[in-house]
């Protein structure tokens, strides 16, 4: 049976792994390659590296760390941040990444998703969606809205897209996987946004990865069981040693969730 995936996420800023709270106030966690190796050995099913400065700075970023990661780890990994063209994507994939994830550039140019999927195959094109629940929107009824440039708080802005419309759109354009970052939950460890993820699941027929809010092992079983996501991404609980991956997988097995043993 296909296992549910546990995916540590490493936010990368200026060549270091960092972690912020609700996308702000980043602190340094450590160096990229040893952390990647540590998580691969600990039983992670996949890793995601987000270069969180790239899209908002508009600068060319040194990505040589991608091949240094590919040299040492033997599980799949995805690179996100600042990939704006087929040439950018090719560079990252040739360095050994298995997937690339695009977010802000897809909002600016949605056809980019189709162009990348045609060249590299749907399987390696992930679309990251940063979604914020705005209580005041939709005449006070509340609405999930897509945000852009979330790596830089001065440039973060709301787009014209509601979250579920945007997910449907990117899947129709050829996205092979969706990572839904629930911004209200990010870094606060109060649990995944099950309500939002269930709605996303209903409009998403490609793999869906939950992101934002993991604080306890029960949060993982909740999101797999209640929102039927294919994978769950988390950062601070792993970086700070709150949850060990082996312990988490053993717990999920007792909850009858299919996981790959460490």
């Amino acid at each position: 049976m296909l296992a549910r995936r546990i995916i540590p996420c490493l936010d990368v800023k200026d060549g270091k792994v960092v972690k912020g709270i609700q996308f702000r106030n980043h602190e340094i966690i450590g160096d990229i390659v040893p952390l990647a190796q540590k998580y691969a050995e600990a039983g992670a099913d996949e890793l995601v590296f987000y270069d969180i400065t790239a899209s908002s700075d508009g600068r060319v970023v040194d990505k040589s760390w991608v091949s240094r990661i590919a040299e040492v780890i033997d599980i799949p990994f995805c690179v996100a941040g600042g990939i704006k063209s087929a040439a950018d994507a090719k560079e990252i994939l040739m360095m050994g990444a298995d997937k690339i994830s695009i977010n802000s550039p897809a909002l600016r140019d949605p056809e980019l998703i189709t162009r990348l999927a045609d060249i590299f195959g749907q399987q390696c094109i992930v679309v990251g969606v940063d979604s914020f629940y705005n209580k005041e929107a939709n005449a006070g009824k509340g609405e999930y809205q897509v945000y852009q440039f979330t790596g830089d708080e001065k440039r973060t802005k709301q787009t014209g897209w509601t979250t579920f419309d945007w997910i449907e759109k990117v899947v129709s354009l050829g996205a092979g996987e969706i990572v839904l970052n629930c911004m209200n939950q990010d870094g606060v460890r109060q649990g995944y946004d099950i309500v939002q993820l269930k709605q996303a699941r209903a409009v998403c027929n490609v793999p869906l990865i939950a992101s934002g809010g993991a604080g306890t092992m029960a949060h993982f079983s909740d999101v797999y069981q209640q929102a039927d996501v294919d994978g769950a991404l988390a950062a601070s609980v792993f970086h700070k040693g709150v949850i060990a991956i082996k312990e988490l997988k053993n717990y999920l097995k007792t909850q009858r969730i299919e996981v790959r043993p460490c």
Partner: protein, 221 residues
């Protein structure tokens, strides 16, 4: 780790696909040297040949044709291991046409290398989400030497929407909606639908088994 290196060598065929670096690193992590090449003589002289691939069969076969490698690959007698699309290229044909190997649509028949007599078809996922992406278990594992040390229920990393059906050439199967070939083999040709280079310690075990095969070990299987 040092290995006794014979006069020969290991090559990865440069199919123009994107995962060549990760395959090379996986071999090097085991302590072996390997060369990525599309040079006909180097491929012919190699002890072991790895045929990797991601993307579409049509695109990869066009590359192989353009590099005049079709008959070169067909005449190889040393052990050859294909990964994912590389496995699919070893069959008679693929129905994936212009679409990527991970998209469940077919719009044409692509003639492949015809090394293992089976045909690649859309995965019959029976409503499961496609692509079939993630870690899944093997079953019906044969005693083929490349699978030494691999047990029923071991997990490997898959990413695909097309697959070879179960046949007499199946050496391990997997299930996602329906059963399909997780690995196939005939004579000196072996193909894995999963990605051993991304399947952690057990994936490395398969690559190591392959690299340790004797030159004649597959002849009378």
């Amino acid at each position: 780790m040092t290995k006794e290196v014979s006069a020969g060598m290991n090559v990865i065929v440069d199919t123009g696909c994107a995962n060549l670096a990760s395959v090379k690193f996986a071999v090097e992590r085991l302590g072996y040297q390997v060369t990525i090449t599309d040079n006909i003589e180097l491929i012919q002289q190699a002890d072991k040949v790895i045929l990797p691939g991601v993307g579409s069969a049509k695109h990869a076969m066009a590359n192989i044709n353009a590099k005049n490698l079709v008959s070169v690959l067909q005449k190889l007698t040393q052990p050859v291991l294909g990964f994912c699309l590389g496995m699919q290229l070893m069959t008679e044909s693929s129905t994936e046409g212009n679409k990527s190997s991970t998209e469940g649509k077919s719009d044409g028949l692509v003639p492949c290398l015809n090394l293992i007599p089976t045909k690649v078809e859309p995965l019959k996922a029976q409503g499961n989400r496609l692509p079939h992406m993630g870690w899944n278990t093997l079953s019906q594992i044969s005693d083929h030497p490349v699978l030494k040390g691999i047990s029923e229920g071991d997990y490997f990393y898959f990413v695909h929407s097309f697959a070879a059906p179960i046949s007499e050439y199946t050496i391990a199967s997997c299930e996602y909606g329906s059963k399909f070939s997780a690995a196939i083999a005939k004579d000196n040709f072996i193909g894995c639908q999963f990605h051993p280079e991304r399947s952690s310690a057990l994936g490395s075990k398969i690559i190591q088994n392959f690299l340790e095969l004797g030159p004649q070990e597959l002849v009378n299987l």
